[in-house]
């Protein structure tokens, strides 16, 4: 049976197509103005990658901020459940999932079956989310993906004292104007991000194994500093960390389709 999961976030949308026990295809796109367009684009591309059409999908679960607006979804679930589910399927020993997305961040605790135990979430403040890094990339005039690698060779990271993204941006501009080394500024930015996440994760308690999902998991600098701050080494995923929510949705789709008689 073929099922699908579709995660429509604030900045990107992802679709995952799942066969009985493997990922057939996945797709990540930049969001369109309307969530239904984003979902359709991501799903169409994922279907094309697998040589399938929408009729081949037995059941589809949507998640993410646009999840209630997806016409082809049979049901929807919160991204918190989906990230826990997806991460647990990939790494069954996982107990703590840290999801850092474009516009929010979450720390999620799951039990040995991948069931959600507790979570904390920040979706009120851009600090500690992908948006913080976007603002900073623009200020540094580098690509978002460059901030991680740039920071690795830093010897003396700058200290960013402001938590507010707006004020931190002014602080970063000031460092650049003073001639601070770009590597040191990038490292300071990643440390600020990791520090904010550390506070969030502390509220649920760190239990190994720890997995980081979401787009910011691709920033090697944030991952490194967060590992140091939490004193753990995180498990690396074999799939793109951005598709974990959509994967979890697809796994729920499979369970639901079984319960519904697998039509």
């Amino acid at each position: 049976m073929i099922v699908a999961g579709c995660d429509v976030g604030s900045l990107t949308a992802e679709a995952v197509i799942l066969d009985d026990n493997e990922i057939m295809s996945s797709e990540i796109i930049r969001v369109r103005p309307r969530p239904e367009q984003s979902a359709k684009d991501a799903m169409d591309k994922a279907l094309a990658n697998a040589g399938l059409s929408l009729e081949d999908i037995a059941y589809c679960v949507s998640t993410g901020y646009g999840r209630t607006k997806i016409p082809f979804a049979n049901g929807n679930l919160s991204e918190i459940s989906c990230h826990g589910k997806g991460a647990h399927w990939l790494i069954p020993s996982v107990r703590t999932v840290i999801d850092i997305g474009g516009q929010d961040c979450k720390a999620i605790k799951v039990d040995k079956n991948g069931k959600l135990l507790k979570f904390v979430m920040n979706d009120k403040c851009a600090a500690g989310t992908g948006r913080f890094l976007e603002v900073m990339a623009k200020t540094l005039e580098v690509e978002l993906g460059e901030i991680g690698p740039l920071s690795l060779s830093s010897q003396n990271p700058v200290v960013i004292t402001n938590m507010c993204s707006i004020y931190a941006q002014i602080e970063v501009s000031f460092y650049i104007a003073q001639g601070a080394d770009l590597h040191d500024v990038a490292a300071g930015i990643n440390i600020a991000m990791a520090g904010r996440m550390k506070g969030l994760v502390a509220k649920v308690g760190v239990e190994e194994e720890v997995v980081i999902t979401g787009g910011v998991a691709k920033n090697i600098g944030v991952v490194k500093h967060l590992e140091e701050m939490l004193n753990v080494s995180t498990k690396k995923l074999e799939v793109d960390p951005q598709i974990v929510g959509a994967l979890g949705a697809a796994l729920f789709a499979r369970e639901n389709s079984h319960q519904n008689g697998g039509d």
């Binding site: 604030s10 403040c125 851009a126 993204s165």
Partner: protein, 258 residues
Amino acid sequence: MIVAGCDVGSVMTKVVIMNGESLSHHIIETGFKPDIAAKNATDKALAKAALSFDDVKYCISTGDGGKNVSFANKYLSQLQCLSKGAYWLIPSVKTVVDAGGNATRAISVGKDGRVLSYRLNDKCAAGGGRFFEVLADALELKLDELGPLSQRSKNPLEIASQCTVFAESEVISLINEGKDPVDIIAGINRSITSRMASLIRDLGVRKDVVLVGGVAKNSGAVQSLEGYLGVSIKTVPTDPQIVGALGAALFAMDALKK
């Protein structure tokens, strides 16, 4: 007796020159070299009064970058200077609200313009002047256009995001949805002033309430804040951005008299 007050804010540098009772002032962007901004603004303010730098007998600096002013004789806190300046302009003041570029302050003013207590938000840009700048940029408007435009709104929109970064995206979405910019601006004024009002209520609202700082130039924000606080708000009879610098100059005058 000629003195200078020099308020180096994170965004703007304000200088007031006092020559007896007569004032001149100048405001420039701080940029990344506060000391140079302070010197330039002082020279410009002196030039307006046909004075030169050597005429200044005493200078007090204040503001985030005030400690970097090498030619100042002394540094004093913004709270002291704002309170002093507002009291000199409006002696009936009991509460000064300063909404500047990087912080919002509410100060309870006592006898002779002394600071009794205060509340400060310099941690989050929401509820501060920087929020207006970011959103004016998103709307491609000048800061001083926000006030008059917002007062034409019949249906202010609600801005749900508290975070300035998220609110900017929200405003862009509202523009793309074809909403009336006038209603968006009125929504922004309400969003910011509701947060300012919480800070002021936490301190205690004592009349007269005087609003200073760049936000005081936004008539829509003043009106909206009046609505939230349920009191009328006074604005100063000079540029509301120079009140801190004026207070510094008044302290400089006091120092010379001693």
